[in-house]
């Protein structure tokens, strides 16, 4: 007797398919609304959607639409339904059947660490790519010390990574009060005894203690070797702050992305902040060296992922090619960033409240609030 097996595939393994550009066929069995809202994407990923409740009588309808051979990954919200469907597929004799371990929840939480560079002072800079949601975090390592920037809620990843690098996390820094994801900066700082930095203009309503991050502040990592220079750059939020790390890397937060620019409306003050956004992008950033490498807090499209999954671009190239930096007419700029914006990120109001410490949802509730794409850029659709 042969056993018709099906196996788990982890979010990490799925990420490898995408980054290595290997073909993967996905049968997503969530309901149509969830699939339309957010799904696993990649240049070499082909996916179809048939809700599991349409496959209760049998999986023929799915088999008809699959390629005859090759790996098939069944995906659902949490895992249960994908196992249910994967088992039925395997029973028809189909081989190479997998289900996504932990479902889209695990996908949303997976972080791929990507090395950005060795720093001049002997340290390292890493980017953490949250591939399922489009968030990017950073870690600066130097001389046994570490600082994290725009830390995500999944703080154990940063803790473990620092431990592997034998570094102590001294600072967790947020470029701004996030609206699309729950910050892990405060939680991580409390856990490891680090300092949590937040721009004071975004922290007017917060309920906790923090270190105020002001323009021209310098934070050092590993003695005096690596500098993180704060650069006040309002627009996405009134407090939004960018950082220049090691004189070379511009961590632009949600102000400037590789293929788009930040949206000014998530705190309900789009009209007020348009001028700040324009000033930051068209004046303050213009004064910086074009050789700076921009490292944003988000990517919008999977095609923005470069070598090894890294999301970055030279500032001068962005001034030449990024559509958001090439709107010369101020009125047109105002219209672009205030009208016809993409939908708001899911639960963004609650996420802001959580990041201010006003509400304290459980881990499960936090996970639920973060489901879906980030939609922080004006060109996200």
């Amino acid at each position: 007797m042969t056993t018709n097996a099906y196996n788990p595939m982890t979010a990490k393994e799925v990420t490898r398919f995408i980054l290595d550009k290997k073909p993967l066929f996905i049968l997503d069995v969530r309901n149509e609304t969830d699939y339309a809202d957010w799904r696993i994407e990649g240049e070499t990923v082909q996916s179809i959607n048939i809700p599991y409740f349409d496959l209760l009588e049998g999986v023929e309808a799915a088999i008809e639409r699959m390629p005859a051979e090759g790996q098939v990954l069944v995906v659902c919200a949490k895992e249960g339904s994908s196992k249910f469907v994967a088992e039925q597929l395997a029973e028809t004799g189909r081989t190479d059947v997998f289900y996504l371990e932990g479902g889209m929840k695990a996908w949303s939480e997976y972080l791929e660490p990507v090395k950005v560079a060795d720093l001049q002072g002997g340290g390292e800079l890493y980017q953490f790519v949250r591939i399922g949601k489009g968030c990017l975090s950073y870690m600066v390592l130097s001389d046994g010390e570490a600082a994290t920037i725009d830390t995500l809620r999944i703080t154990d990843v940063f803790e473990q990574f620092a431990a592997e690098k034998k570094a102590e996390i001294k600072h967790t820094i947020d470029t701004h009060l996030h609206a699309d994801h729950i910050s892990g900066g405060r939680q991580l700082a409390e856990k490891v005894g680090a300092t949590y930095w937040l721009p004071p203009k975004d922290a007017g309503e917060v309920t906790f203690e923090y270190a105020a991050l002001n323009d021209a502040n310098e934070i050092t990592v590993g003695g005096t070797k690596i500098k993180i220079q704060a650069l006040y750059s309002p627009g996405h939020t009134i407090g939004s702050t960018s950082f220049i790390v090691d004189d070379r890397y511009l961590l632009s937060g949600d102000i400037l992305f590789v293929e788009s620019i930040g949206r000014p409306d998530l705190a309900g003050l789009a009209e007020d902040w348009v001028g700040d956004l324009r000033n930051t992008l068209y004046s303050r950033y213009k004064e910086l060296s074009e050789e700076l490498i921009v490292l944003p807090a988000h990517f919008g499209k999977i095609t923005e992922l470069g070598e090894g999954g890294k999301v970055s671009a030279r500032l001068g190239d962005l001034f030449a090619h990024n559509p958001g930096l090439n709107i010369h007419d101020e009125d047109e700029f105002r219209r672009t960033v205030t009208e016809n914006l993409p939908q708001h990120p899911n639960s963004y109001q609650q996420i802001r409240q959580t990041n201010m410490g006003k509400i304290a949802p459980t881990a499960d509730e936090q996970r639920e609030m973060e489901i879906g794409p980030n939609r922080c850029a004006v060109h996200d659709k």
């Binding site: 309901n31 969830d34 409740f53 349409d54 249960g80």
Partner: protein, 194 residues
Amino acid sequence: MSNQSQIQVDLTLDCKGLACPMPIVKTKKAIETVQSGQVVEVQATDKGSLADMQGWARTTGHQYLGTIEENGVLKHFIRKSSSDEAKPEVKFSVTMTTEELQAKLDGGEAIVVLDVREPAEYAFQHVKGAVSIPFGELESRAGELSSDASIAVICRTGTRSDLACQLLQEKGFANVANVLPGMTGWNGPTSKLI
């Protein structure tokens, strides 16, 4: 509890603590045991059951009445439709047999034969003159067809072509027929690419 007493329930199903797909699997089984018109209350704690219950009801034709949330328990109310209002397995109504198709082609009728099987299946054998658009690509490639043409859609056994007919109808194609049983019953002239 007052609002709940106003809803007459014929069967209550406890799916608390169960993760998907179990709430829907159990609901489906429960609905089979009650009479048309009767109402089943499904108690679930899986938040995802809400959207799935609505989706399942939509595809099966049973009536989703609504959901009440009480103390973290979602109570979904589903009314079983009578057999004539429940959606039968959706089938495209306009069909023709392979013999009828052959007769039309032999008679020189202007008819487009659309083969929605995968390229490999098409390559080995297809109805002479058939156009190939695999079902998975039809959504994006339907524009290659003329919407007022007479189109006979064929696959291997009539299932994919049925779905293809439905899709084309949604896209405004007025003159579409599903060829039954499909290539398995085709005895007319064929071509191949290899």
